[in-house]
Subunit: 409 residues, 4 copies
């Protein structure tokens, strides 16, 4: 057991921190100004400063670092995780600068792992180059999508094509006109086994019958700064049969495979968000005076700060261990831990953000600090990939089984 | 001891519920549509449906019901409180329809109680008639405004005028062009005793030197549906000396007097918000199916529902008792209880909203349900009139004093 | 709505407080010394100081004040509740001094309400006179007794007798040799309707076949100071048929009737416990110095004190309202509120005790303060009359039903 | 970074688990029976079964495994930690069987590290052989001992002797007549610098003037099963000057050095307690039926189980990392982490125990399961080495300093 990051990681951390301090953090204000000036509110990745920063990121070898080594990348999950944390400190800008932003990362992994050569050439290449963006269309408005058997979107074979019909929402990034392709989950065979009914298919944005209906809001934010969350309709959308990813019925398995690394990324970025919040909380507490003393001398605020530190240290270790498990025994072997970090992370980070906001007074809820928007973003994670309660339930069943068999020790 | 609402209250509850069911709830969607269509995003009280509803409210004798009986109104705090709760069920529309919306209610009370005849004629009358709106300018961006001695805005006498200089923010309602007058808190004598330095003065919107700088956001909401929250500047703003409310140095005392009823109103409306949330949570849980059973059969969700009911019942009684104390022994006698409900209410209602949101899945955070915007609104109450922590600290000091003197029993 | 205690209540509060200050509190130490000197550890009600105090209590008209007015007593639930709170401040002594201690109070109510003249003469009279004690035998070790259909104890008719066989535990007070009679719940007809299978019967302590097996511990306490909690066996115990309370199959209904007032008493005494804890917490915080300042100047401890006050004020009002409901609309009409206070009270009081203990340092857990034993006692209430979770579940079902029918408003 | 236990650790875990399953767990009941039969209630380490198990532990090389390798032992903190966890599964017996029980472990470390050759021969040898026991006398009844400057016990030089006067309490293990020596902390020079006033000295149990006044209780337990917690008096106790440990004024530094490993041990044993609790909770939930289904099918109980797993996984990793830090950068380098685990562990484990108790119904609070006594034991850890709040405050100051200096990243 060894809690040191390895040499490669430490070097990359240094490189990335240097890049963050020298380029990313200083550009945050410009990014928001340029966003505000966009003609198409959703075309966020067309702002000039992003392009400039991306050139620099590539130059420094910080491009696509998320990509697992077995798929042409060069880092393990455990090596990438602390880098993802650092990008979380500038959550709206840094991941995009490094081409490491969701949902493209997950989509690129899916294509790298399950895509055909043709699919890779058509979609993975431009994604890896940051030329286009993508979205992942799974959640549906009418049903509890945490239960995959509920999915109502149909993907039906018709000659050399598949025809899609269905409705999706919370399709993150899809409002961006540069999101050129969607990976859509639907049912090819509703009569098959529970987890063999679903398939995934690539749908170009410009396919006939694709409707971008509206953008969903999250606590008042439309999240145009990363392409919003679209409600979409698919009406008799016809795509070539070759657009299917894997085979018919593979949809559920691919979704599961996509989840693991995605969770690590989300969780580590969230920890970065929390670290930034702790930093801001400490600075505010050190600056602000009320009733004759600094907030930092107030016991209650100190208690929040200590508790934040205690919680985040524990959480980070579990996320890192999960990354390590994925690297050493695979997604399946890390199943319980992936569930555990999914449950623990948003709850912990939301708590810290709430306290950081409270320390800032009403300003903490406003556009003047990154805390409120971070709060909204983290809050959505309690639903992402299904509500926490579904995962708690599953985790408990595993635990009960373990002790029922007397193997509890 | 008697927990029945009195006859007058019960009749008014019936009347109001009848009006809500017949007119207000059915108009909610229209209100939002008309809001969205406004040319001036902030001129919320100019939407046609509001005017129509107000006519009906007057006709039914439900206009200005907030006004305490000693100031020309007809209801005690205890009688008004359950009506305020009912308006909380349609928090964005109902209070305005009844001309019972903050911050005008507090401002009208100040004018009714401390205003000169001239001030009443000029400002109170049109406010009571719903012709204009007002704002209350106390909080400042550079200092912790919970400590009134921190206030930096200056109100200086110059001949027959006062001249104001300072900066304010979170001035609720002030973005609305129809907010024709501001009650501004500033210091007339920084060398006076701690609580005699401050004064309040009426400043017309169109006075030279008044700057509406920007709207503050709450989470992602700009709250244009009730006039937003302005950051304002006052630069050599000159108003007649007769605009002073009360005498020089009375500002702190007037602010305190304004707080009591305001807290009751806020708290009862918040309880109405919570009741609506519980109702929506129950309905959603009864409708939605996941993994083969209704959410309402899930133990965890039942636990949330029960806990919500248990908490809200306790909270309501304390708010009602506080109203009763204000009616019987006055603001001062109700001091500790006013602090207690200020602390308890937002925490409790925020918890309930969070669970209601979680029950709704991601939709709960969106514009499709009133839960997310309610959450943002309630969250601000943990800062309103000073952060909860300031009130907790004061409440504890009272408690410690009580037991130190051996009078604890 | 009126939050004043009525005149009778206020007079009795004065009388009782006078008695507590003049006699009960000063005798607490003696009570514990005499308890420690007992030959039979369990014969707690034989200590001399108790007899002396009881004489004084009778003289002052403070005897049996718990008894509802419709059964020969003179107070409503609402009038008695604040007196129960006061006795909670000396939880181990005061209720017994006033002959208002559980489980005798509940048993006396059952006899007053459902007993025959002969049963009253034989058992109720000596109980009302404080000559004997009693116990209530419902819970069983092998099954979840919160579900009354689980009860395994059999009560079988045999000629003019009933014959009992079964095992019970947590029979509070039963270790005391002066607990001369047990009200035992068992099944007379396992094939009847779910809630008509059970009956209650009076069993004298000296009946053949009654076994007092052992005393159960609560945390480390055996609770000998109120007769412990026995595990008991009933082996072919034969009692006259006339010992049945009510008719066959009435057991469940009687148990339900017994619950309502019992909950009010428990809850109000618990609030008294909490008030005592807050007082001790404040005094300790005011006395103790660490790192150069009093604990009472520490923000975290102030936060505990304020939060304790805020919580207990809310809780008391709900318990009082429940008492009022029972007086005005009966046990059934107060059903949801009785569940609510059952859930809310132990949780709230346990939290307060935990903070009071923490304020006292390690001493808070010891025999030097009444906090630790109070903590153990309150902790049991989360199980008494069934675990909280059962009541939460039932409360949620009521709430869900209310909103499903559209009557939610 | 590597989360595997090393080979040596894994082998020792196997050995220890084998010993636990084959010998320790099966002897638990016997241990309690023999304890109950003791003539001297406090002489717990004289029970026969303990001696037998110790022979076996030595034979298997599981004796004194706690001892750090730099002091003659053979394991690092990181290697010992998972063994300590396993002993926590049988918290009352296993640590003693392995001669790895507090407070002897800490005392042996102090002697190994700071003792003279003579001190080692006289006291360390018999302790390492398990022939005698010891106690550590620091806490005082009259003052907040978390602030070392408060200590009132005096150690005064008089010729070749030191003379002690003072009062101590919560001296764990001291009621045991076989606790032959006490390490006593007192002030040799109250006028010295804040952290140079204190010294530590060895006091034999039979020294004249040593008074064992009484045993302190913890939530009703007198903890005689590990020698209780004594209140002690030292009245003109004279010991040779050679009994001083280190030099005059070294007391504070030695106390600090003693803390680090002690915390790791406490925390890891506590995690073992929690794991046992989770196991029992799962088994009970799987066995018990109420209202027609197993408790393990109840959503609320599943939520407790999942939450327990999620919390304990995070906590363990932080404790292990702290052990690793102590091994690699020493106590000082691990300072913040030692504080963090001190705060996090009792809170987390107490929560889990509370839920495990609740799952067991009233039985969970009784002597029939190890949960209630474990709860009492864990509760004391929130005071051990000072209340959590003192450590939170210190941790927050470190965090605030880090960000004030701009080194927060």
């Amino acid at each position: 057991m060894d809690f040191h990051y390895d040499l490669k990681t430490r070097e990359l951390q240094e490189d990335l921190l240097d890049f963050m301090d020298g380029h990313v953090h200083p550009a945050e204000a410009t990014f928001h100004e340029q966003l505000a000036a966009l003609e198409d509110r959703w075309a966020w990745d067309s702002v000039p400063v992003l392009a400039e920063l991306r050139v620099e990121a590539r130059r420094r070898g910080l491009w696509n670092v998320f990509l697992p080594d077995e798929h042409g990348g060069r880092l393990t999950n455990l090596q990438y995780a602390p880098l993802a944390e650092i990008t979380g400190r500038s959550i709206q800008l840094a991941p995009a600068v490094l081409n490491c932003a969701a949902p493209d990362t997950g989509n690129m992994e899916v294509l790298a792992r399950f895509g055909t050569a043709a699919q890779k050439e058509q979609w993975l290449e431009p994604l890896l180059n940051g030329e286009i963006r993508s979205a992942f269309a799974m959640t549906e408005p009418q049903v509890a999508s945490s239960d995959a058997t509920n999915i109502e979107c149909r993907i039906e074979r018709d000659g050399d094509s598949y025809v899609l019909n269905g409705r999706k929402w919370w399709i993150t990034g899809a409002m961006n006109p540069n999101a050129k392709v969607f990976i859509v989950m639907g049912k090819t065979d509703p009569s098959a086994d529970r987890h063999r009914q679903q398939s995934m298919i690539l749908v170009p944005r410009d396919a006939a019958g694709v409707g971008i209906e509206r953008g969903m809001h999250v606590l008042g934010y439309d999240d145009h700064d990363h392409g919003g969350h679209a409600e979409m309709s698919f009406t008799d959308v016809r795509v070539p049969a070759a657009n299917l990813i894997g085979g018919e019925g593979d949809g559920f398995a691919i979704a599961q495979a996509r989840l693991g690394p995605g969770r690590i990324h989300h969780c580590m970025r969230s920890i970065g968000v929390a670290e930034r919040a702790i930093e801001l909380m400490c600075q505010r507490a050190g600056d602000r005076i009320a009733f004759g003393k600094k907030l930092s001398e107030q016991g209650v605020i100190r208690d929040w700060i200590a508790e934040s530190r205690v919680r985040i240290e524990q959480l980070r270790l579990l996320v890192l261990k999960t990354a390590w498990l994925m690297d050493t025994v695979g997604n399946k072997g890390a199943h319980s831990e992936i569930q555990a970090i999914k449950i623990a992370t948003p709850k912990t980070v939301q708590w810290i953000l709430d306290k950081a906001i409270q320390t800032h007074g009403a300003g903490g809820l406003s556009q003047d600090f990154p805390l409120a928007s971070a709060y909204a973003g983290i809050r959505t994670l309690r639903f992402a990939d299904g509500p926490d309660e579904v995962h708690s339930n599953a985790l408990a069943k595993t635990e009960l089984r373990r002790h029922a068999s007397g193997a509890g020790r």
